[in-house]
Symmetry: D5
Subunit: 147 residues, 10 copies
Amino acid sequence: MDRESLTEKIVSLKRAKGISWKKIAEEIGRSPGFATAALLGQMSLTKEEAETAGQLLGLDENEIALLQQVPYRGSLPAAVPTDPLIYRFYEITQVFGTTLKALIEEEFGDGIMSAIDFELSVDRVPDPKGDRVKVTFNGKFLPYRRY
Amino acid sequence: MDRESLTEKIVSLKRAKGISWKKIAEEIGRSPGFATAALLGQMSLTKEEAETAGQLLGLDENEIALLQQVPYRGSLPAAVPTDPLIYRFYEITQVFGTTLKALIEEEFGDGIMSAIDFELSVDRVPDPKGDRVKVTFNGKFLPYRRY
Amino acid sequence: MDRESLTEKIVSLKRAKGISWKKIAEEIGRSPGFATAALLGQMSLTKEEAETAGQLLGLDENEIALLQQVPYRGSLPAAVPTDPLIYRFYEITQVFGTTLKALIEEEFGDGIMSAIDFELSVDRVPDPKGDRVKVTFNGKFLPYRRY
Amino acid sequence: MDRESLTEKIVSLKRAKGISWKKIAEEIGRSPGFATAALLGQMSLTKEEAETAGQLLGLDENEIALLQQVPYRGSLPAAVPTDPLIYRFYEITQVFGTTLKALIEEEFGDGIMSAIDFELSVDRVPDPKGDRVKVTFNGKFLPYRRY
Amino acid sequence: MDRESLTEKIVSLKRAKGISWKKIAEEIGRSPGFATAALLGQMSLTKEEAETAGQLLGLDENEIALLQQVPYRGSLPAAVPTDPLIYRFYEITQVFGTTLKALIEEEFGDGIMSAIDFELSVDRVPDPKGDRVKVTFNGKFLPYRRY
Amino acid sequence: MDRESLTEKIVSLKRAKGISWKKIAEEIGRSPGFATAALLGQMSLTKEEAETAGQLLGLDENEIALLQQVPYRGSLPAAVPTDPLIYRFYEITQVFGTTLKALIEEEFGDGIMSAIDFELSVDRVPDPKGDRVKVTFNGKFLPYRRY
Amino acid sequence: MDRESLTEKIVSLKRAKGISWKKIAEEIGRSPGFATAALLGQMSLTKEEAETAGQLLGLDENEIALLQQVPYRGSLPAAVPTDPLIYRFYEITQVFGTTLKALIEEEFGDGIMSAIDFELSVDRVPDPKGDRVKVTFNGKFLPYRRY
Amino acid sequence: MDRESLTEKIVSLKRAKGISWKKIAEEIGRSPGFATAALLGQMSLTKEEAETAGQLLGLDENEIALLQQVPYRGSLPAAVPTDPLIYRFYEITQVFGTTLKALIEEEFGDGIMSAIDFELSVDRVPDPKGDRVKVTFNGKFLPYRRY
Amino acid sequence: MDRESLTEKIVSLKRAKGISWKKIAEEIGRSPGFATAALLGQMSLTKEEAETAGQLLGLDENEIALLQQVPYRGSLPAAVPTDPLIYRFYEITQVFGTTLKALIEEEFGDGIMSAIDFELSVDRVPDPKGDRVKVTFNGKFLPYRRY
Amino acid sequence: MDRESLTEKIVSLKRAKGISWKKIAEEIGRSPGFATAALLGQMSLTKEEAETAGQLLGLDENEIALLQQVPYRGSLPAAVPTDPLIYRFYEITQVFGTTLKALIEEEFGDGIMSAIDFELSVDRVPDPKGDRVKVTFNGKFLPYRRY
């Protein structure tokens, strides 16, 4: 069984059992951002976390082992994503990429925001005109090394 | 003069005058996210805002008019960005795109986070192990219309 | 069973049973645009709608559940579509994209037509020189947020 | 002067003179869809139409001649458009392309909606929850020839 | 069974039975251009034509039904074809595309040659220096609609 | 002056002088297919032909020399052409490529239709339902060498 | 069984039986260049040749028939090959393509080297500093037809 | 002046002076393959060679210096070449790439033919049925290092 | 069984048996760089090495034979890798490619670092601020042949 | 003046003055890897460093300012590099990417080698069979954050 099939199976089991990503995250003891990414095949779990997740969803031993392996990352089937929800993040990069670069460099100097030493979270912001999605990226600033 | 050349000129004038993006934003009366995007050719300014920016930077009338025009958006020269700072946002979309989709849909149902009714901000989070970049996206949730 | 196989199965069952998309849409209580998109794996149905569709076509429980799940959207196998009927819509975007941008912005200001809060319909316009296809897109105008 | 530079010049003159696309269309005696496309370098004008447009905008003889020439069509700088307004039309094709194919073929049989014997219009639909954009495509149905 | 597998099966049965495309076309009562395209999954047959073809080749009911369905067109596995015979047609488009455009527009005005109301034929032209292939495209001229 | 600029200049001079491609072809003593391709930078002319063309259009000596040079061929700005007239030929290759391959190989055996020892012509076929464009490709059949 | 699977099977049988490409070529009575290409699915064999090859390798009747069919050519999984040995030939085309064009045209005039009426061979050139690979392409010169 | 412009200038001067690539090669004291590649911007010349070439063609000092600089190699404007002469070499790689790999590895073991320690030559092979182009690649065999 | 499936099986067996790449390399008697590449389907092993590896992992005879075959190289599913660890090497090529070219050519003259007569190693460099990865590429310098 | 033109000018001045990259690096007080990258437009210099470099090469004030600005990084004109020296690094990523991933993860766990907190160096390794290029990448290991 490869990782992609396991992801499909997990999504299917989760639907059948009616468990939410947040619930699984709570059981594992990780934030929803981390836990969901791991179950969707983009992060690796520790043995313990994988076993907890496996019991919740009903995975076999081999599948639980697969959850602990570092995956080949990249969750999208094309360079420019076609799914509208995910495309909006690509659009933000396309339209506001130079803005993000300008503001981060003005504040921090020459470097990047790490996507490895990195957390993401999704929150609901109630708003009478329609609730809003708040997505937060929190990554360590890494300055270019001068040598 | 096309918009791309104006962007280059603005960056060059800003460097020569030593003004920060935040300062320009403050003068215009907009947040740094919005004002920087506008000056980099991704958002349009009102007549007043454009004139303020024009005076700060020393733009001529035609250039000030150009700042008020809706641009053809897209700030990057390639579908997959090569600049490491900007690439990290592409990487986040590639690696965490399905996670963002899963969490937003679990919380809000079937729909998207708007990239139009949308704000972005960049903040510094002090951290003894190295300060962190916090990027916040805040967009209205738009449910798919059922008809 | 993944969503793509389900779509293939639905098309096959529909052919075997000789039911039209319009008929299914009517039974479900949605417009043909919405219902067809949902059955082709691009929109999600409510539990009730999915069950109605499932009974009409003869789907099993798991397949009916799959119809209620939010799909990874994108219905075409390539960035530039090869099917002539669908290509014509791509061609319209390529040739008239800047025209649509100019006219929408002249009428509404800086923003977009939503493809989420959005309806589409297809109608026949009788014409002695050959009937015409009328495709209508109806989406909420979303102005860019100024912040 | 090539056609692309003429398009840029026309946009710039129009801004300076403060004329709308609709006004130019009216003067030429064509619909806004057709006239705007022609001035943006995607359709050709007759001699008379080109002269009217030229006088309104202040074009020279050579430029007026260029407006009458059939252009090499295609108005976008990339296969997948980056501008959010235009991208939404690409998204509609990606997400609803198979739906459009299914509905047109169910109603008309095997063939296409012409993008040549074709009209487009953009209208405002007032709505208390926010006005809506209505885009209408009206093209002759062309059945595949059987031979 | 999807259309692609059916195409493979048809090619295989045809080889085993030693029937030519021309023979099948004759039986169906269509030209070789149309009939071959239909059997290769690019055109749809009527019920009667599909049954004739099915009997000749030994297809089952479901496969005969599939021959009557409008296919998702596009017969090549890549945007630039790798097969040398087919590439030559791509090369002709690349090298002589602007020539074809110039000559058609000079003769007919602004418009296109339809690829829908369209016939193609392949003939042998005996020539002492080596026989020649004559490919004829015959499509209705469609002028751009002025509106 | 590079070949592309010369092509643009030739198109512009031709428009100003009101000469047709057919007329130029006749003066040069070549068919319209060949002569137009040569003037659009895809074929080379002999010294005599180039001089005749140069006099007709008003080219200088250097430009006349350029007409005699073998060009780097390829007349389109993208792998998939965006111009609707030219795209139709690409569409024919995409949709009917395997049909052309099947019919040519059935008639001639394993080989190709040459695109070098090759002629093309464009003709008008009067038709009461709308005149038709007839495009003929005539290329030597080249069998694969067995060695 | 499609041609690609047959190619894989042939490679596997050849390894198991320890026969060389040269040996198979000799048995078939063709050069190694031709015979290897045919067995790798890029050329077609005659009935007799296919039967000889089939007996050597242990193929069944259907597979022997497949060897006689004209294949859809193109042996690489990507437009730019990733395998280093094959990439070097791509590199030669990229780096020396214009040189080859210049030298062939200087010697022969405007035309091409045929890749159809074409032979290739691979030889070893002993060299004290390390043996050398000599690859020879031998193709008929085809002048562009003037018409 | 960049290298690409210099290449264009050299081609233009060569045409004006009527010197052949072979003649220049002879004067420089290199083979036509090497010398032509160098003048087309793909190889570097020694000081002496560059000066000889410069005098023959009439280049200035700066241009002669540029001929001695190592270029950024790659002589084609697209990944898949559009020029038919050059495309044939790409086609050979596409169709016969796996054959070349099979034969070289059978003869030499696991490794590649170097495209650096490499010579190419173009020769005419007289043939009563039409002369043939013989292209020879001669590169050192490099075995993969085992470590 | 094709090579890709074998790679997947090897990774799975290795996980189940808890053996490290370094351990396998040691048993085979090759460096970790070479041995890991071979087991991941990018290098070929000798009979003896393959048998040792096969016994360690529990492969059958056919699989052991496959390990000795020269593979079609290229280990990534896309031209621009999506996995962050591997992308960093792509990024280094994109950002520092011209630097590597400048420094190698300054030191060695016109040529390349071989990727065939080549070794790679990965080492840990302890560092109080966080350990560092040291990747070393060691390839023979190959000067361009002058001929 | 944009950064790309400055890079071209710097290369040209360096050639005219006959200074080596190593010499400039020494004057600036940085390693050759860093200094060369900065002058080729991929890293930014401090004011002092930029002035030193400017004096060495003869740059004006504006150009010296440009050297201190953070560039939009990415030094190659295509996603797959065509220059053979640079391509070899791409090839290493393609062929050995999964090997590097396997070895780094075995040694360090789940994470990446930073390309930001990163040094590169190029050294000559004398070897009687031909000197070797040693390229060293030294980057901080960054473990994925667990949160």
